[in-house]
């Protein structure tokens, strides 16, 4: 089978390419740059230059592909995020239709549901089209994917992953690791909020299933780990890895004030800011993401729990020098 992966140099895309190649799938990886830097380690991976925002570049890339895994995303400001996440998705579908691609696996995000979530989040919960640039553009992109799939007659399966961590994860591994290491993090309300974490390889497994299974076109699936953990449990792993104290906890009102006045707070205390808007939104959630639909229709069975996922992540951090190579070093 020939597949195309967009966003192939990103965290999820690169891992997907690696795994697919390992499974013997013919992979074409869409990259904007880096063609000269890394000669393809395996002949089964063909790297092509392209950009989801440029339709012409996708036509050639989509040729003879049966499935497209659309992982590319980007943009901070709303206009830019829309250009990449919405227009980019439209282009992917146009190219898919032109090339006769059977199915597009569209990587969406749990963020499309917004920040006010019920205790049990299912796919039925409406998409939110207001909020931060990422969430809004991902929601619009997902809507475009479903619509265009129907218009063009291309099968589409939408996956909405939660917080994806594992080796190379820029935010949920490296981001929080660095913040704990540099003691630039606080927990809110004792870190009792729930983190719906998902280990990268569990996501890759389900992406593959989404490409294969029949009778699921037009469906969206929330994808998370087997069960959520508390933020305290999650952050504890980092503290343990780098022999740092567990970050202090602040009550919600204080966290809110610190985030709102982070500039003033940093100026007055001479401390770098230890809470970001993102923390405020996430650490206060008490939502469990339901993966029942994925379990049923995709036979999804997450098998990497937090301990194991963090063990693998720690090994990678040590291998890359983020942590000293042996524990005795610290």
């Amino acid at each position: 089978m020939q597949v195309l992966v967009t966003g192939a140099s990103g965290f999820i895309g690169s891992r997907l390419v690696h795994r697919l190649v390992g499974m013997g799938v013919q992979v074409r990886a869409l990259v904007r740059r880096g063609l000269l830097s890394q000669p393809p380690a395996d002949q089964r991976c063909e790297r092509v230059r392209g950009d989801v925002t440029v339709l012409d570049s996708l036509h050639r890339a989509a040729q003879a592909c049966e499935v497209i895994f659309h992982c590319a995303w980007g943009g901070h400001a709303l206009t830019e995020a829309r250009r990449i996440n919405v227009l980019g998705t439209r282009n992917v579908f146009a190219a898919a239709a032109a090339a006769g691609v059977r199915r597009v696996v569209h990587l969406s995000s749990m963020a499309v549901h917004g920040q006010r979530l019920p205790a049990l989040l299912t796919e039925e919960h409406p998409l939110q089209f207001q909020g931060d640039a990422y969430a809004v553009s991902k929601a619009e992109g997902e809507r475009a994917a479903i619509e265009l799939g129907a218009v063009y007659g291309v099968q589409v399966v939408v996956l909405r992953p939660t917080l994806v961590y594992g080796p190379q994860s820029p935010i949920w591994l490296l981001g929080y690791f660095e913040r704990v290491k540099h003691e630039q993090l606080a927990l809110i309300n004792g870190g009792k909020g729930l983190a719906n974490l998902l280990y990268i390889d569990d996501l890759i497994d389900v992406m593959w299933a989404a490409a294969q299974r029949s009778g699921i076109s037009g469906q969206a699936f929330l994808i998370s780990g087997a069960h959520p953990v508390t933020w305290r449990q999650y952050i504890d792993h980092f503290a343990h890895m780098c022999h740092k104290p567990v970050p202090p906890s602040v009550p919600l009102w204080r966290a809110w004030l610190e985030v709102q006045g982070s500039r003033v707070y940093s100026a007055l205390t001479q401390h770098p800011k230890r809470l970001l808007g993102m923390d405020l939104a996430l650490m206060t959630q008490h939502t469990t993401v339901s993966i029942d639909k994925a379990r049923q229709l995709l036979e999804y069975a997450p098998h990497i729990a937090l301990d194991e996922g963090m063990r693998r992540s720690e090994a990678w951090l040590r291998q890359k020098g983020y942590l000293p190579s042996s524990r005795n070093g610290l």
Partner: protein, 329 residues
């Protein structure tokens, strides 16, 4: 010593945002005149930076200033610089110094003949984190360096330029490679202290661009190390330089000149606690201050510039090699 009387030719986005404020802060010079083809704009800029005079023709600087900064569209640099140098005016010229190797030669020959000094303004060379990186490599903290990757760029439309000359071959003399990529080529040559034995090049042009809007260059050095440089006017890359060595790696963000991430098995601090992110004092605009300071100092004392003619020529050689080859493929 009396301060240098300084003129600025070209009052586009770069001059007004970075160079003019830096020139104003420097105590070793006195801003005497600004030149821009647009008279009203020139007057406006002169008022804003409290410069006594403004002209629309750079020839008016002759006899009135000791030194000048040239920040006009790329293909115009060589003629303007040669005229000014011919009249004994020291020139600090924005990169690319010129768009052909022959022009670079012409400019340095003129400088040698008249004794007026000429320096290419590679602001990044004065960036604190890149200076630190250079020292880290020299101390062998990274072991032997085998790979350098660097990316620079941003969405051109979102920049703060006054004109879109960079899209047009006649004025820009090339695309993103000669405009931004030249920084990376210069850094790669400066950090590796070698000339490459082979050059690979790839490029793409977005709609509306007469020249390449994205480019990638790979340089292979005699010692076996490789530099991969990517530049873009159409998307935002990492804007960072990463150096990989046998004993560790270092990462330098280009637009955060006071920060550097180091991972070295030879540095004690990394042995005990892994990757270190160093943040040293300073601000983003400091590199421009340091550049102007260095230029004035070298001009006044006769010291050598840290950016040398041979290095400027070598970077242009590589660019010509890329463009020449692309014409034939």
């Amino acid at each position: 010593m009396r301060p240098l009387r300084f003129g600025v030719v070209g009052c586009g986005g770069f001059s007004t945002i970075y160079q003019l404020p830096a020139l104003r802060r420097c105590s070793r010079l006195q801003l005497a005149a600004v030149v821009d083809r647009d008279r009203t704009w020139a007057q406006k800029v002169a008022r804003r930076f409290r410069v006594p005079t403004s002209y629309t023709d750079y020839h008016d600087l002759i006899g009135r200033v000791d030194a000048a900064l040239i920040a006009t569209p790329n293909t115009t640099h060589a003629d303007i610089a040669c005229t000014l140098l011919q009249h004994g005016i020291h020139v600090l010229c924005e990169k690319p110094l010129a768009t052909t190797r022959a022009d670079v030669e012409r400019m340095f020959t003129m400088s040698a003949q008249t004794g007026a000094r000429l320096m290419a303004a590679y602001g990044l060379r004065f960036s604190p984190n890149l200076s630190m990186l250079k020292r880290i490599i020299a101390t062998q903290w990274l072991g032997s360096v085998h790979e350098l990757t660097a990316e620079i760029g941003g969405r051109y439309e979102e920049g703060e330029q006054r004109t879109d000359f960079r899209k047009h071959r006649r004025l820009a003399g090339g695309g993103v490679l000669i405009d931004l990529g030249i920084h990376l080529i210069d850094l790669a040559l400066w950090l590796s202290e070698e000339l490459p034995v082979s050059v690979a090049y790839e490029s793409a042009s977005a709609q509306g661009w007469e020249v390449e809007s994205e480019a990638e260059v790979a340089l292979d050095f005699p010692g076996g190390s490789r530099a991969t440089l990517a530049c873009s006017f159409t998307h935002v890359p990492t804007n960072a330089v990463v150096v990989q060595g046998s004993a560790g790696w270092a990462r330098v963000p280009l637009y955060e000149p006071t920060s550097l991430t180091l991972c070295s098995e030879r540095a004690r601090v990394c042995q005990t606690s892994g990757v270190q992110r160093l943040v040293f004092p300073g601000t983003f605009t400091e590199m421009y201050d340091r550049q102007i300071e260095h230029f004035c100092d070298a001009v006044m004392t006769g010291k050598e510039f840290i950016i040398q003619a041979a290095e400027v020529g070598a970077a242009l050689d590589i660019i010509e090699c890329c463009y020449h080859r692309s014409l034939h493929t």
